[in-house]
C-alpha cells in the first residue's frame, strides 16, 4: 500500500471546495445552535434552497451570476422566515422537528416528477457555472498544482469562508451578539431587560441560513450539477458532526471540524481500500468500506456528545446546554 499517496490525498481534502462548503454550513449551524441555542436540523434544506435558487435562476432566466447569488440569498431568508414564524416561540425540540421536516419537504418537491421541467426531478439541473467561470481572474496555468478553474473554485469558496468567519467574529463580539448569547443562557432574563427575543432569534436563523445558502452554491458550482440526492438528512447530520468536532460556540471550530471530518473520511477510505486490495482484509468489499466510514461518523457523533460536548477547541463554559 502506498501510504504516501493515501496521506497526501487525505491532506488534499483540507482545501477542496466541498470542505469549504461544509465549513461554511457548519459555521451557520454555530450561529444557530452554538450562539443562539436554536436546534436547526434542516441546514441541508438551506443548502438546497441556495443551490437550487442559484441554478434555477441561471438556467431558466439566463440570469448573470450575481443575480443568481442574490436570488439564493433571498430564497434562504424567505425559507428562514417560513421556518421561524411557527416555531421560534416554541420549545427547542419543536424547531428540530420542523426544520428537519421542512428540509425534507424541499427535497421531495425538487425530486417530484411533476416539476421535471423546473427542477429536473431526481436527475437535477446541470450547466449553470458558465457565467461564474467568466469571472475567473486567473489566466490559464498551474496554481499550487491546480488548474486555473480548480484554483478559482477554491479561491471563491475559502474566500467566502474567511469573510464569513471575520464577519461572524465581529458580530458575536458586538452588542447584538452578546444579546444572542444572553438568549442562549437565559431567555427569560433577556426578555425581562426589554429585548425582543423573538426578533433576535429570527435574525440569527436568517444569518445562519444565508451562510447555508452560500455553502450550497460553493458545494454545487464545481460539480456544475445540483441533485436532490445530495441534500438528504444525512448531510445535516454530517454538518452537525463537523460542528461538534470543532466546538459549537467558536468561529474557527466548525471550519477545523469540517477539515478534520473530510481528512479522516478520506484517510479511512484510503486505508481500508489499501487493506482490501492488499488482501489483509477479506471480509469487506470496497463499497462496504465506504459505508463503514459512515458507521464511524455515527459512533463519533455519539462519543463526542457524551464525552467531549465542547468539541476539540470549545470552552465547556460556553455550551448551549447546561
Amino acid at each position: 500500500m502506498d501510504y504516501g499517496f493515501v496521506l497526501s490525498s487525505a491532506l488534499g481534502e483540507i482545501a477542496t471546495p466541498t470542505t469549504a462548503a461544509y465549513a461554511l454550513a457548519a459555521l451557520g449551524l454555530a450561529v444557530h445552535f452554538g450562539y443562539s441555542g436554536l436546534l436547526n436540523f434542516g441546514q441541508a434544506g438551506f443548502m438546497a434552497v441556495g443551490a437550487y435558487g442559484f441554478a434555477m435562476t441561471t438556467i431558466h432566466f439566463g440570469a448573470s451570476f450575481w443575480i443568481g447569488l442574490l436570488v439564493a440569498v433571498v430564497a434562504s431568508v424567505v425559507f428562514a422566515l417560513i421556518l421561524g414564524i411557527p416555531t421560534l416561540r416554541l420549545r427547542a425540540d419543536y424547531l428540530a422537528i420542523v426544520t428537519i421536516a421542512a428540509a425534507e419537504i424541499v427535497r421531495y418537491v425538487v425530486t417530484t416528477n411533476a416539476l421535471t421541467d423546473v427542477t429536473g426531478s431526481a436527475d437535477g439541473l446541470a450547466a449553470f457555472r458558465e457565467d461564474f467561470l467568466r469571472l475567473n481572474p486567473f489566466p490559464e496555468g498551474n496554481y499550487l498544482g491546480y488548474s486555473s478553474n480548480d484554483f478559482f473554485y477554491r479561491f471563491f469558496g475559502w474566500g467566502i469562508v474567511i469573510v464569513a468567519c471575520i464577519a461572524m467574529w465581529l458580530l458575536m463580539r458586538s452588542p447584538w451578539g452578546r444579546v444572542l448569547k444572553g438568549i442562549r443562557e437565559d431567555e427569560l432574563a433577556v426578555r425581562s431587560l426589554g429585548k425582543n427575543v423573538y426578533k433576535y432569534k429570527m435574525q440569527a436563523l436568517m444569518i445562519g441560513g444565508i451562510l447555508g445558502a452560500f455553502a450550497g452554491m460553493i458545494f454545487t458550482l464545481p460539480r456544475d450539477v445540483v441533485q436532490p440526492g445530495n441534500y438528504g438528512t444525512e448531510l445535516t447530520f454530517f454538518l452537525w458532526t463537523c460542528l461538534l468536532l470543532g466546538g459549537m460556540s467558536t468561529i474557527l471550530g466548525p471550519v477545523a471540524g469540517a477539515m478534520i471530518f473530510w481528512v479522516v473520511l478520506s484517510l479511512t477510505q484510503g486505508l481500508l481500500t489499501g487493506l482490501i486490495e492488499s488482501g489483509a482484509v477479506t471480509w469487506l468489499s470496497t463499497t462496504q468500506a465506504g459505508q463503514l466510514r459512515y458507521v464511524l461518523v455515527g459512533v463519533a457523533l455519539m462519543l463526542l456528545m457524551i464525552f467531549r460536548p465542547q468539541g476539540v477547541f470549545g470552552n465547556k463554559k460556553e455550551l448551549a446546554f447546561a
Binding site: A101, W240, G298
Partner: protein, 446 residues
C-alpha cells in the same frame, strides 16, 4: 447481572464507553449472524442467455403493476448486431448485458404478461433506447388495467383510499406509540426510532431468507426488536440519564445512533429493496371496497394491538404507573413507583411495537429497504406532533389522521411522489395555530 452493570454510583467514563461499545457490538453480532442468509438471497438471479455479467453495458428496468412486481415477463432486445431476451425476476427487475453502447430495440412480449394486465395506454412497444455515455440505461414500462381504471368512479376511489389510509395510519400509530411514550417518560426526542422500525422488517426478511418458517421469523424478529429496545436503554440511555446528560445532547446522541445503525444495516443488507414472503397478493373485494389482503391484515393487527395497549394503559396498575411517570417523574418516584423500571418497560414495548410497525410498513410500501425507517420517522413525528407531543392517545389520533391524509391527497390530484409532503405541511400548519396538538395541554409547549 443487571445490578453490576447499572450500579447506583454514577458510572465513570470507561464504563460508558464499554456500554456504548457493547450496544453496537450486539447490533453488529445480530446482523453478522443474519448476513450470510441475506447475501445468499440478494444476489440477483441471472437472466437467461446471455448472462448480464458477460458484458459491461446493461439495459435494466422494473416491471410493476400498482406496486406489485411482475415476474416471468420476457423482453426481447435487438440492435448493434446483438439479440437477446431478458426475463423479469421475482421482484420484477430485469437486466440484460449488451456488447456495445449503442441503440437497441426493446420489445415486451405481451403474451407473457399475467392475465388481466396490459401495458398502459401510450406506452411505446417496441421502443428504442440509446446509451448516453453511461454503462447502464434503464427503461420503464408502465401498466394499467386500461379502461377499467378510467371508469373507476371518484366515490369508489375515495372509499378505497380511505381504508388504505386507515391501515397506514394505524400501523403508523403502532410505531409511534413507543416514540411518544419515550418522549413522555424521559423527555427524549428519539431520532433513532426509525431504525427500530427498519430492524423489525430487516430481521423478518433475513430470518425467512435463512429458511425459517414465516411465523417463527416474525416471532424472532419481534423478540429481537424488544431486545434492541432493552439493550439500548440498559447500555446507553439509562447511564446517560444517571449522568444527568441534558435532553438536547441526548437527542444528538440518538442521531448518532441512528446514523451508525442505519449504515450498519446498509453494510450487511445492501442498498436494494427486497420483498417479504407473501408480499404479492391481488386485491380482494370486500363489499364496496377493494383492498389487498395484506392491508386488511395490517389493519386488523394494528387495531387489535392498539386496543390492547389502550386497555393496559387505562385499566391496569402498570398502565397507571406509566401514565404517572409520563405526567411527572419526580412525583411518581416519590409515590413509590419504580421510575427506571417503567422507563425500561417503555423502551422494550416501544422497540417491540416499532418492530411490528416495521413489518407491517414493509408490506404496505411494499419492500424492505435500509432507509425505510428514516422515511417513516418524519411521518411518526408528524403524527405525534399533530396529536400532542408526549400524550399517548394523541399519538394514536395524530397518526391515523396523518395516514388517512397522506392517502387521500392522492385522490385529490396530488402526485404520488409528493404524498408525504402533505403530512409534513399540515404538521407545520398545526404548530402555527395549535402548537400543543390536538390532545396536548398548553403547559407542555412553553
Amino acid at each position: 447481572m443487571k445490578s453490576t452493570a447499572l450500579a447506583a454510583h454514577p458510572p465513570r467514563t470507561p464504563r460508558m464507553l464499554v456500554a456504548a461499545g457493547a450496544l453496537l457490538g450486539a447490533i453488529l453480532a445480530v446482523l453478522l449472524a443474519l448476513a450470510p442468509a441475506a447475501v445468499a438471497t440478494t444476489t440477483p438471479s441471472p437472466s437467461p442467455s446471455p448472462s448480464p455479467t458477460q458484458f459491461q453495458n446493461t439495459i435494466t428496468g422494473f416491471l410493476r403493476n400498482e406496486g406489485q412486481p411482475l415476474s416471468g415477463v420476457e423482453i426481447k432486445v435487438s440492435g448493434e448486431g446483438f439479440e437477446g431476451t431478458a426475463t423479469s425476476t421475482q421482484n420484477g427487475s430485469w437486466s440484460i448485458g449488451v456488447p456495445t453502447q449503442g441503440t437497441y430495440t426493446l420489445e415486451l412480449d405481451e403474451s407473457t404478461l399475467p392475465q388481466g394486465i396490459k401495458l398502459a395506454e401510450g406506452q411505446e412497444n417496441p421502443r428504442t433506447v440509446t446509451f448516453t455515455g453511461t454503462s447502464n440505461v434503464s427503461s420503464i414500462f408502465t401498466f394499467g388495467r386500461g379502461i377499467q381504471i378510467v371508469q373507476a368512479d371518484f366515490g369508489q376511489q375515495l372509499l378505497n383510499r380511505l381504508v388504505a389510509g386507515l391501515s397506514f395510519g394505524l400501523l403508523l400509530a403502532l410505531a409511534a406509540v413507543g416514540l411518544s411514550l419515550i418522549f413522555g417518560t424521559t423527555g427524549l426526542t428519539n431520532f433513532g426510532h426509525g431504525e427500530m422500525v427498519t430492524l423489525g422488517a430487516v430481521a423478518v426478511f433475513s430470518l425467512s431468507a435463512a429458511g425459517l418458517p414465516f411465523w417463527l421469523a416474525i416471532l424472532l424478529a419481534l423478540a429481537g426488536s424488544a431486545a434492541y429496545g432493552y439493550i439500548q436503554d440498559a447500555g446507553l440511555w439509562k447511564p446517560l440519564r444517571r449522568r444527568g446528560t441534558g435532553l438536547v445532547p441526548m437527542m444528538i446522541v440518538s442521531i448518532g445512533l441512528a446514523l451508525a445503525v442505519r449504515y450498519v444495516i446498509l453494510l450487511f443488507f445492501g442498498g436494494s429493496t427486497q420483498q417479504l414472503p407473501y408480499a404479492q397478493s391481488p386485491d380482494i373485494q370486500l363489499g364496496p371496497i377493494s383492498i389487498s389482503p395484506n392491508n386488511l391484515w395490517s389493519l386488523l393487527i394494528s387495531a387489535i394491538v392498539i386496543g390492547a395497549i389502550g386497555f393496559v394503559l387505562l385499566k391496569t396498575r402498570l398502565g397507571k404507573a406509566t401514565r404517572a411517570v409520563a405526567d411527572n417523574p419526580a412525583l411518581a418516584a416519590a409515590s413509590g413507583i419504580d421510575v427506571d423500571g417503567v422507563i425500561r418497560l417503555v423502551w422494550v414495548t416501544g422497540g417491540l411495537l416499532a418492530g411490528l410497525g416495521g413489518i407491517l410498513w414493509a408490506y404496505y410500501r411494499p419492500g424492505v429497504n435500509f432507509e425505510m425507517g428514516q422515511q417513516i420517522l418524519l411521518m411518526m413525528f408528524a403524527g405525534v406532533t399533530l396529536g400532542g407531543l408526549g400524550t399517548i392517545f394523541g399519538a394514536l389520533v395524530g397518526s391515523v389522521i396523518v395516514g388517512v391524509f397522506v392517502e387521500l391527497t392522492t385522490v385529490f390530484g396530488l402526485t404520488a411522489d409528493l404524498k408525504y409532503v402533505g403530512a409534513l405541511v399540515i404538521m407545520i400548519v398545526v404548530l402555527l395555530f395549535r402548537p400543543q396538538g390536538i390532545l396536548g395541554r398548553r403547559e407542555r409547549v412553553g
